[in-house]
Amino acid sequence: MSKFRMHLLVCGGTGCRAAESSLILESLKRELEEKGLGNEVQVIMTGCFGFCEKGPVVKVMPDNTFYVQVKPEDAAVIVAEHVIKGRPVQRLLYVDPKSKEHVPDSKHMGFYRKQIRIALRNCGFINPENIDEYIAREGYAALGKCISELTPADVIDSIKKSGLRGRGGAGFPTGLKWEIASKNKADQKYVVCNADEGDPGAFMDRSVLEGDPHSILEAMAICGYAIGASKGLIYIRAEYPLAIQRLKIALGQAREYGLLGKNIFGSDFSFDIELRYGAGAFVCGEETALIHSMEGMRGEPTNKPPFPAESGFLGKPSNVNNVETFASVPVIISKGWEWFSSIGTEKSKGTKVFALAGKINNVGLIEVPMGTTLREIIFEIGGGIKNGKKFKAVQTGGPSGGCLTEKHLDTPIDFDNLVAAGSMMGSGGMIVMDEDDCMVSIAKFFLEFTVEESCGKCAPCRIGNKRLHELLTHITKGNGTMADLDRLKNMCNVIKDTSLCGLGQTSPNPVLSTLNNFMDEYVAHVTEKRCPAGSCRELMKYSIIVDKCVGCTACARGCPVNAISGERKGPHFIDQEKCIKCGACFEKCKFGAVLIN
């Protein structure tokens, strides 16, 4: 293996690739070749760095210099200045929003300061398409340790003691799950990796698979060893072509190195993994639906029990874990459960990856220890609310989570605290809302997703969610009554209480949590026919303040439906019958004469 004096790590995460980071990679390579540095400096495309807000990201190692918002044409200056002369390119460094100073490395950036990367440990460090780089960072050592030093019971014991809980949403203790699967006797068992990440805006699992595919393969093999399974299946959505491609490469390399296949490390343990593609149905993230989908059946959940650990894929005991859960497994084995369980809160150990999105300055992927508060995440890591607006709420747990408010900001985040606060961990989506967001509309927005993604098997989810959505629409149009609010709440409770699977049992959460935390907004919609956030179009009224209007006619010319009349240099008026509330007049007026209420 050749040695390089310097590595240029170009982010190959979804966001950065969308911003043409592959062109940056090519430009850097070209520049280096031209300068004859091809053998000295290596350019690698890595997995996601997480700081998508400022992408594309390029990191220079070993200097640890972190360049943000790099363009392909910046390649020349990076090579000429940094690579050749050793002078970091100041203008490409991250600027701290408070001190306005250039920050040379990621360690000192607010976004990274509070993060601890366990699941994402290799994302942004290694070339995911090169097994040697994974091995160089202790990859497959944990599998080796399991097979050569530990009994399956020891492995399960370590995972149990580590306190690792499922990262897919429900937070079931992973070790216990493995133990149950290991105790069920069968001629064939399966290890299933749930890579059907479907929350809108979430890309935690995708980033792990794209940035560090071997960690999942290793963890699945460890799980196979622990529960006595020789086959693994990764259920991954076909919309993740890059993750699929990297998994395929990783599988090929691992087989070639004898880390998958027959008699791994010369032992009598054999294990191999196949990929199964999903068509992108959210409900297929539910483990029984996932298994049916893999079997070629309709992706629908079935009642539990029986749990997959008893009767799963093809009726055989199967252990289903989420990508992020698996990603933590190898480190727990190599660093020890004591280390892992020292991180986090009493009942939630380790770290959690969140996809930060919404009205927040630093959109991206973060990994923090359990117990970090929402305030730390939103205001320190996330850099606060965009455009200096006021924080209003944060939706955790994806579309079936709940909206938490100001009063929850200092709650340490873990599985149980989030549930107690009326939300959930979910797979780790985190969407931040500011004062301009109408909470009734937000609830409606999330429900739209679950209505779309219900499989249709059970009546409360199939029809009930649709009815909830219709009633919310009714309210946002100003047609609701106080009695409707009672009905809304009852419908939510019944849907939760009677639905067959986790989707329906949680889909009313955004409605219930907003009803609990923002009842005043609902009441304003139904009694005053007013949207306090000013976002429900049907409830808005545009008018012109006569004193401020100078008669420039800009509003009248901008109105698409000719609803504004008035003489030049005289006051203008809006015909409320004609007005479609598009807001064009408000945008056009330079004198602040258009009033919205």
Binding site: A281, V283, R298, E300, T302, N303, P305, V451, E452, E453, S454, C455, G456, K457, C458, A459, P460, R462, I463, G464, N465, K466, R467, E470, L471, T473, H474, R487, N490, M491, V494, K496, D497, T498, S499, L500, Q505
Partner: protein, 592 residues
């Protein structure tokens, strides 16, 4: 048997481990309401997707309500079936279901026999909150030769899907779409006509609402009756007489043959005949064909096409034409009794009463929906004039009788017309699974051995077991017989035949569970298999009461051969009473 102790509604009970809450409650006399759940005990058929959520109950210690139909009792479970929480949930879920269901009950074919309507009444639903803003899931209506699908009325109970896939292994329909627009139908929302549907009608038989119904031909029949130029001849299948009474509140298993004949006369049919006559004829033809093949087989002819497969059941014929076209020479070439009847009525009988076949309308009363399709097959017509003009189901006849305000229960009894109304006990048992082969054995034995049978009840061929086999001693020769009812069971036997592993000489197949008595056109059983058993008993009772119980002794059959056909399997008999089968695999269109 391991038992556990549970408490339901404050009463303790001991049940077998693995019992569901629904069954445990039922045992105590507590009837938890269910909608999607359905079970036919003796036939091993159960639909329990746990989808409707009407049967939810409170189980102490569980966060959410549990569906009683699929939740097994744990030792010490404390269950409550009617707390305010449960009742509110049930009502709310029912309101959801009704909010997406058409409200035209007044003119719905299922009105009065609809499970959803009954449940709405039982739960006391008097309004549907929010109906004015509720969107409905609507679909195009699909009409096939036998079955109408009106999916606006589908409540996703999945019973039809279970019948079509798990029981019948036909696979014509399955759930499509997701969420609010989910419903059950052929792949890509294709018309049923282009699917592998056999028209067995078992989907219709279990549909709780008006989503799946039969094509109603009663108005066509009425039009024929009022037409003075037409002579209208009616034939009625054996299974009809054992079930029609249920439609008028009579006990399941009540035989109503005599009242049925009177009712048909009152409705204005010119001749009231019996399909059983044609069943006797079938035995003559099929029995002779079988013995011919058997002799060839015993002489070592590898192309003797043994085992012979019965061919009376049109659902079964459709099934093998779709699924086993390579075996299409194996079934008997004998037409079904319905079609034999039509062919004889429009030739032999038309000649006898001296009318042109075009002036004769043959109507059949059938327990079956596939018969509608069968009667429309082009090979069963002469110059575009079908041998059987209209086939109506037992349910349609009951409606017809009600519309004519005939007091069915108090009708006097009367007898079929002659000559096509005379039949034997062997013909009657065609209505039960095992009946066709039993009738064939009675005749074939005597023809084969030349000896008189000393017993007529072959109980070893009877029963509700899905696949049965028996060996009958044909005077020293062991005749191996296989029987299957339900197409899934038929598939098991067919696969054996195809693989060359079968040692049967003859196999009887009926598409519907229980045979024709459980047909898709029969009065609805609503998941009560004791009704099917009672009908089967009634059929055997009718057989026992018949003076003649072997087909080849039916004097009118003998007369028919003497006057018209010559002998069984003669050229004329072949022309009128035999058919051939088609490879219809290619007719299935997956996507247009």
């Amino acid at each position: 048997m391991e038992t556990i102790k549970i408490t339901i509604d404050n009463k303790q009970v001991e049940v077998e481990k693995g019992t569901t809450i629904l069954d445990a409650a039922r045992k105590m006399g507590i009837e938890i309401p269910t909608l999607c759940h359905m079970r036919l005990d003796d036939l091993n058929i159960e639909n329990k997707p746990g989808g409707c959520r009407i049967c939810v109950v409170e189980v102490q210690g569980r966060k959410n309500l549990s569906p009683a139909c699929i939740t097994k009792c744990d030792n010490g479970s404390v269950i409550r079936t009617h707390t305010p929480r449960v009742m509110n949930a049930r009502r709310t879920v029912m309101e959801f279901i009704l909010s997406d269901h058409p409200k035209d009950c007044l003119i719905c074919p299922k009105s009065g026999t609809c499970d959803l309507q009954n449940m709405a009444h039982r739960l006391g639903i008097r309004e549907i909150p929010g109906q004015e803003i509720a969107e409905m899931s609507t679909y195009r209506k699909d009409t096939s030769p036998s079955i109408i699908r009106e999916l606006d009325k589908c409540i996703m109970c999945r019973r039809c899907e279970m019948m079509c896939n798990d029981v019948q292994t036909v696979g014509a329909i399955g759930a499509f779409n997701r969420g609010f627009m989910a419903a059950v139908g052929p792949a890509y929302e294709q018309n049923l006509e282009y699917s592998p549907c056999t028209y067995c009608g078992q989907c219709v038989a279990v549909c709780p609402t008006g989503a799946l119904t039969e094509v109603d031909h009663t108005r066509d029949v009425l039009r024929a009756i009022v037409d003075p130029a037409k002579t209208v001849v009616v034939q009625t299948a054996p299974a009809v007489r054992a079930a029609l009474g249920e439609e008028f509140g009579m006990k399941p298993g009540t035989l109503v043959t005599g009242k049925l004949v009177t009712a048909l006369r009152e409705l204005g049919f010119d001749y009231v005949f019996d399909t059983d006559f044609a069943a006797d004829l079938t035995i003559m033809e099929e029995g002779t064909e079988f013995l011919t093949r058997l002799k060839k087989f015993l002489n070592g002819d590898k192309n003797a096409n043994i085992p012979i497969l019965t061919s009376c059941c049109p659902g079964w014929v459709n099934f093998f034409e779709h699924n086993y076209p390579d075996l299409k020479d194996v079934p008997s070439t004998a037409k079904s009794p319905q079609q034999m009847f039509g062919a004889i009525a429009k030739s032999y009988f038309a000649d006898k009463i001296n009318i042109n076949r075009k002036d004769m309308v043959v109507v059949s009363i059938m327990p079956c929906l596939a018969k509608k399709y069968e009667s429309q097959r082009p090979e069963f017509s002469v110059d575009g004039n079908p041998d059987v003009d209209f086939s109506i189901s037992t349910r349609e006849l009951a409606n017809f009788i009600r519309q004519a305000n005939i007091d069915f229960v108090n009708l006097p009894e009367s007898d079929f017309d002659r000559p096509l109304g005379e039949s034997t006990g062997a013909a009657v048992i065609f209505g039960n699974t095992g009946g066709v082969i039993e009738a064939a054995v009675r005749t074939a034995y005597e023809l084969y051995t030349g000896k008189k049978l000393n017993r007529l009840d072959f109980t070893e061929l009877r029963g509700m077991e899905g696949v049965r086999q028996a060996t009958i001693d044909f005077d020293g020769f062991p005749l191996n017989i296989g029987i299957a009812h339900g197409l899934g069971n038929a598939r098991k036997l067919l696969d054996e035949v195809k693989a060359g592993r079968s040692n049967f000489h003859a196999i009887e197949v009926m598409a519907c569970p229980g045979g024709c008595i459980g047909g898709g056109g029969q009065p609805l059983h609503h998941g009560d298999s004791s009704i099917l058993k009672a009908r089967a008993m009634a059929i055997y009772e009718e057989d026992r009461n018949k003076p003649i119980r072997v087909s080849h002794e039916n004097p009118y059959i003998l007369q028919l051969y003497k006057e018209y056909l010559g002998e069984p399997n003669s050229e004329k008999a072949h022309h009128l009473l035999h058919t051939h089968y088609f490879d219809r695999k290619a007719k299935i269109v997956v996507k247009q």
